[in-house]
Amino acid sequence: MTSGVGNPCNKNFGQGRRTKAINSDLPWKELTKAGNIYEPGNSNSYETGDWRTLKPVWNEERCIHCLICWRYCPDASIIVTNEKFDSFDYKHCKGCGICANVCPAHAIDMITEEQQPLKKKEAKKDE
């Protein structure tokens, strides 16, 4: 689970108040009081995927769904659905390569972005 909205630990938290994106047109009075942020986990809308030089790709046949990659991902970028590996969150994955290194089944390869186009399922997730 990676989403902030609908997360059970956020119930009744900061409803209806939004933190505005900062740009050169935003007057300071529009900033939230004391710099408070009312949407937990809104960093989800900030993409760190473009930091990546190497990209992890999943080899479905080899994967044993042990979820060790999920445990060791610093960016919560392994999406797990129903206790099984589902996909990579390429919006946030910084390509550190830890998942590929800890995988006991060698089911994750690190490739350059040019080496292989996105698979259909992953491409959908990326949109």
Partner: protein, 314 residues
């Protein structure tokens, strides 16, 4: 003990999109600790450091739970205040839900700058967990030495040169200092053994009163190792006894892992660029000094844990 499959259902409290470096140990440690809180409400406080500045860049926050921002030196004080307010509100019947309180600090904000506020919070017995993410220097401001920096390490304020080969002083033993506060739970853990980290975090959350966990949290920038090797490096740190994993429960010291073989400290130093100068001719005495310090500390730890005082067989 919960399995990873069960734990994967726990809501993620540190969302993606935070701006810690690729492969940062803090992200892994924080996710592991917060995962152990399972479905409870959690309030997080952070001492200034990489974790705080990278996760709360306005207008974004990576925290999927209540988070309170404060300065470098007062994570312990701030969170103990929040906890006291919570207890008061609860007593007055103004608050129904139960909350857990956890503070994260780097080694700069814990070993050095935040030590007095942490010590105060522990002494006052607030029901909170303090987690120190020890990466052995002030990495956020540009790798300056802290009292957690290991002997011989090259940092920007203890640079290795022709005359002085890196930091000259040994590390401070913070876990022992915290245990000396006679708090109900203090522990030292390494991400290489996630079951151990989970167990310790769970104990720390469940215990009534203050708890302290010291986590080894490698920094790819400051330690200059190959980024994907983080788990291996943490494992070597435990095996070389640089970072022994143990816990102190109600004053009783328990050693969680005893290496079967004597692994020399070189194994831990070699993969890291910050110790590269120790392997140049003329610096052999530094490695000997480091090894002796580690062996001495290990024997002292064994004594505290009531184990026979001997080094692992070579």
């Amino acid at each position: 003990m919960a399995t990873l499959k069960q734990l994967s259902k726990v809501p993620e409290r540190l969302a993606g999109g935070h701006r810690l470096c690729a492969g940062c140990g803090h992200g892994i440690s924080t996710r592991m600790i917060l995962n152990a809180a399972e479905d409870d409400n959690v309030v997080v406080g952070c001492a200034t450091g990489c974790l705080e500045v990278a996760t709360t860049i306005y207008p974004y926050t990576a925290w999927n739970c209540s988070f309170i921002h404060n300065a470098f030196e007062n994570a312990g004080a701030t969170l103990s205040g929040v906890e006291a307010a919570y207890r008061s509100l609860k007593k007055q019947g103004k608050l129904k839900d139960d909350f857990k309180f956890v503070a994260f600090g780097g080694d700069g904000g814990t070993y050095d700058i935040g030590l007095q506020s942490l010590s105060g919070a522990m002494e006052r017995g607030h029901n909170m967990v303090y987690v120190c993410l020890d990466n052995g220097a002030y990495m956020n401001t540009g790798i300056q030495r802290s009292s957690a920096t290991p002997m011989g390490a090259d940092t920007t304020t203890s640079p290795a040169g022709k005359v002085v080969p890196g930091k000259q002083q040994p590390r401070k033993d913070l876990t022992a200092i915290m245990a000396a506060h006679n708090i109900p739970y203090a522990a030292q853990a390494s991400i290489s053994n996630w079951q151990d980290v989970h167990k310790k975090a769970k104990k720390a959350f469940d215990v009534e009163g203050p708890a302290f966990i010291n986590m080894l949290s490698p920094c790819p920038r400051g330690w200059r190792y190959n980024t994907p090797d983080i788990v291996e490096l943490c494992k070597i740190a435990v095996e070389t006894r640089f970072w022994p994993i143990y816990e102190v429960e109600d004053g009783k010291w328990i050693l969680n892992h005893k290496p079967k073989k004597y692994v020399p400290i070189e194994e831990f130093l070699k993969p890291q660029g910050r110790f590269r100068h120790l392997f140049t001719p003329g610096n052999e005495h530094m490695i000997k000094r480091i090894q002796k310090e580690i062996d001495d500390r290990w024997l002292a730890l064994l004594e505290r844990c009531g184990e026979p005082q001997e080094l692992p067989p070579r």
